[in-house]
């Protein structure tokens, strides 16, 4: 039983990072019907910015702040200057260009900081059962998710952002600047992506550090239902818990497989993901 509790707590902490990454993907998918493959690249850039700032100032938290700001800026700039001009022609172009950004940013990070591993610390001690670092991961993601919910549900800008995402034309006729709302949405999503990066990167940092995390993140988003933020959180936790239980009871070499099993089982039962309503979609 003790073992089970340990594995569960560990799974929740792992799941927090996947949830955050899945959430950042879902927010953009909801607003633009586009899977942002560049999300791990923005996170990578953010974490390297944190690494650089921490090295210069010696303060982890200054680095943490730098990561969040870098993520936000990268997301907003990518939407405004790269995705928007290109996705106007066809949504598929938008998806391809995010893949391109992923490769470019990963390459650029390797050129600047080198491809070798850098030691990268946790925010808090990671020793022990449900360590302070784990508690921080879970509560940071829970806090961000709560703030996001309040923003979307109860503020004027949240209402504008939802209107712009669901029905851009009706939103424009009601006086909403849809383009601005999209940029804001990408900024918020990439802010959360940067947080996911800060939680998932340690103990080592290298240009491909998020490859496997991203696979879990997008799996979580698909499992939860690509257009439901609550689904993203649920999916992330499910993938984290599944991985932790399988690696604890069966063997760590099978942990990655557990994500595959979860995705196959969930999508067989609910093809649109756990929390997604089936909808008719224009193709």
């Amino acid at each position: 039983m003790d073992h089970f509790i340990n594995l569960t707590l560990n799974g929740l902490a792992l799941g927090a990072a996947y949830s955050a990454l899945a959430l950042s993907l879902v927010l953009i998918y909801q607003a633009t019907r586009l899977v942002n493959f560049a999300q791990p690249a923005f996170a990578l850039l953010s974490v390297y910015a944190a690494f650089a700032v921490t090295q210069i100032t010696g303060s982890y938290w200054l680095g943490f702040g730098a990561a969040l700001i870098t993520g936000m800026t990268a997301g907003a700039a990518a939407e405004r200057f790269v995705v928007r001009p290109i996705a106007r022609v066809s949504p598929l172009n938008g998806v391809i260009v995010t893949l391109g950004m992923l490769l470019v940013v990963q390459g650029a990070v390797g050129m600047i900081w080198g491809n070798e591993q850098h030691a990268f610390g946790y925010a808090f001690s990671y020793v022990g059962r449900f360590s302070p670092a784990d508690i921080f991961a879970v509560s940071a993601v829970a806090g961000v998710a709560l703030l996001l919910f309040l923003l979307y549900r109860f503020t004027a800008i949240g209402l504008r952002m939802r209107a712009a995402a669901h029905h851009p034309e009706a939103a424009r006729l009601s006086g909403v600047r849809v383009g601005l709302m999209l940029t804001a949405g990408w900024a918020i999503a990439s802010f959360i992506g940067a947080l996911a990066g800060m939680l998932a990167a340690p103990p080592f940092l290298y240009p491909n550090v998020f490859d496997i995390v991203f696979v879990f993140g997008i799996t979580a988003a698909v499992v939860g239902g690509l257009d439901n933020p609550f689904g993203a959180i649920l999916g992330g936790m499910l993938i984290g818990l599944g991985g932790s239980w399988v690696s604890g009871y069966v063997g760590p070499e099978l942990a990655t497989l557990s994500a595959l099993v979860i995705v196959v089982v969930v999508l067989s039962v609910r093809p649109d993901g756990i929390l997604s309503r089936p909808t008719a979609r224009k193709v």
């Binding site: 004027a156 209402l159 006729l173 006086g175």
Partner: protein, 238 residues
Amino acid sequence: MSETPLLKVEDLTAHHGAVCALDRVSIDVPERGLCAVLGANGAGKSTLLRTLTGLHPATSGRVTLDGEDITRLPAERAVTKGLAHVPEGGGVIVELTVEENLRLGGLWRSRHDPETLAEVLDLFPPLVERRGKPAATLSGGERQMLAIGRALMARPRVLLLDEPSLGLAPMVTEQIFTLLGDLRERTGLTVVLVEQNAAGALGVTDHGFVLNQGRVAAEGPSDELLSDDRTRHAYLGF
């Protein structure tokens, strides 16, 4: 119609690709006017409204609202000038609640406007009990009411309505037409009504324009259009 028009459209031309959808359309709408724009499918009625609010780019021509040139204004600014547009099908956002849809309409003026909200809800009793429900749960007629309500939340000077009768029961259509007349009487609202249901629209409006292949084919007081057999047979099909 001697006074200067509130909404003046001069030689407005617009294209869908290579196809000319509006060909030098000129229309004057006086303040407190209730105008019908009629015509067959593809005559350019919806394109006219969409070009007025900037959803569709004008190739040439001029649109002025109370003397101010609004031809090239982006769509999200049209409502701030007093031009509210209810698009075909209403454009109700089904993922939002009824109240959120209404609040959205007035958001550009102020964050909270309980007075206008209460006034609008007063006009549409069926919406009151559904305030907190998703707009997806509304019937077709209720959605059209919500769409009009959302436009009224902006306190517009001119309301552009695109086929409000589409897919609605005749009785509901009649209610909506009656409401437009009442609004004009009470608030001085100017209405441009695009309709395929020519007989119904001419019955409630005071002036009509008939579009045919992007051009104004006929215009005049609604009762004259209604009684002119030639126009009726040629363009209105009844």
